[in-house]
Amino acid sequence: MELLQQIINGISLGSIYALIALGYTMVYGIVRLINFAHGDVYMAGAYIAYLIANRFSEETVWRFPLILLASMGGCSLLGMAIERVAYKPLRNRPRIATLTTAIGVSIFLENLVRVAIGPNFLGFPEIITRTSWEIKGITISNVQVVVPGCTVLLVLVLHYVVHKTKAGKAMRAVSFDRDVAMLMGVNVDNTIRITFAIGSALAAAAGVLVGIAYPRIDPYMGIMAGLKAFVSAVLGGIGIIPGAALGGLMMGVAEVMAVQLFSSSLKDAIAFVVLIVVLLVKPTGLLGKVASEKV
């Protein structure tokens, strides 16, 4: 029973990592960039939701979905702006230049929020009224249903977009072979922009959900969550979309288990243990092919 309880807790946490990891993996797939500012977009998503929630405190069932969508919309604009201003000018430069820039963007966003809103922890408003049920000794709160529920819904939407829409096909084509995609008439600039928009919107959703599940936000919340999500993406196989979702869930469960079985001081260390094990045993990740698709 205790084990089941921990798995349920782990799935909530893992859903959040999964949503962030999806953006990491999509952006990596299309521009081969580890976007280290991605965790900060997640932080921005939480802050956008925080600001809106405090303005519109009316209690309706629409409050949560509207705040979620607004935050996702805001962050997709932020993601596109970051791509346009920081990464696009470096598109054909050595990768280390873009990587360094990503770290710069990350530091910039953290400090922007620190200066504009404040460096302290903030309590996230209760945009979903918490209730919980007890079933055979296991406690499940409505939040533990909403968080994975939203994640599953978003992953399904993402799957539809990537496989059934023109933009999604363009994304797959560009990430497989950019030149040939161009020869088919794909506008690569637009496709990269859309990828950043979608990845950032998913990170924003993670930011809102984390605010609901663990209601404390601060300007640096994206660093550790971003790192863990990055490890999740590597665990699943970087560049592989289902891998990111799977890796995120496993990371969440592993973290909760490590805390439960050993010590809460292992909460953050477990991610790096996972990273080291993956790199030693199967560097291409769980779903990665032995030789990566991109030759």
Binding site: K166, F176, D177, D179, V180, A181, M182, L183, M184, G185
Partner: protein, 234 residues
């Protein structure tokens, strides 16, 4: 249809094309032959916008193409089937063909062209839900050509379509090129298999380390002693 004038391309310090000029008239098959590293692929990449020439002029039906992004050039009807097939190995055969029609939105026309590609390449229809990466080399070449046809090109730039194929398949591919041309598509064919290319095309240009050294009707070049010794192994 397509006119290339005094084209210069550099890769860093390497002068890959030095003042190349040629022409492809509507309805023709024109071939560009030459040894490894002569600059044939570079020529096609410059036309389709994958690389930016230093100077020169490229025109499609009088409209300047240079400086236009590659995806716009494809939309204009210049379809480049690159060297080495480059099919999307992670997509199915059908998805690859749909990618070929990416710039189009005329659903019924796309449907019709898809049926036409399957009629031409029945093996692709049998394998339409198979991942393109699992096809044999010859099948991948057919897919690459079929994908190009799905764009309904005005002019098709084919880069070494016979590369790595068995003699029977080579013949088949050249027959297909002729029939595509007979159906109304202008073709610029780059080949190392000079003999087959000269048999297939109407006119030819010979490229040597970035310079055009010969041009003329294919039957003339086939009879030319210099061509025979340098490219036909005599």
């Amino acid at each position: 249809m397509l006119e290339v004038n005094d084209l210069h391309v550099y890769y860093g310090g390497i002068h890959a094309l030095s003042g190349v000029s040629f022409k492809v008239e509507e309805g023709e098959i024109v071939t560009l032959i030459g040894a490894n590293g002569a600059g044939k692929s570079t020529c096609l990449k410059a036309i389709s916008g994958l690389i930016q020439p230093r100077s020169g002029c490229i025109r499609l039906k009088g409209q300047a193409l240079m400086g236009i992004p590659a995806h716009k050039i494809a939309e204009a009807g210049v379809i480049h089937v690159p060297e080495g097939r480059r099919v999307f190995a992670n997509m199915t055969v059908l998805e690859n063909l749909e990618m070929g029609a990416f710039a189009r939105s005329d659903r019924s026309g796309i449907e019709k062209d898809l049926r036409e590609v399957f009629r031409r390449f029945p093996r692709l229809e049998e394998r339409k839900y198979q991942l393109a990466g699992t096809l044999s080399g010859g099948e991948q070449q057919m897919l690459a050509i079929g994908r190009g046809l799905m764009a309904r090109p005005k002019i098709m730039l084919l880069d070494e379509p016979s590369m790595g194929l068995s003699p029977i398949l080579v013949r088949e591919i050249f027959d297909i090129i002729k029939s595509i041309n007979a159906a109304g598509t202008t073709v610029l064919l780059v080949e190392q298999n000079a003999y087959m290319a000269l048999q297939t095309a109407k006119r030819a240009y010979v490229l040597e380390t970035g310079f055009l050294t010969m041009e003329g009707p294919c039957d003339k070049l086939l009879a030319d002693p210099k061509v025979r010794s340098a490219y036909l192994g005599e």
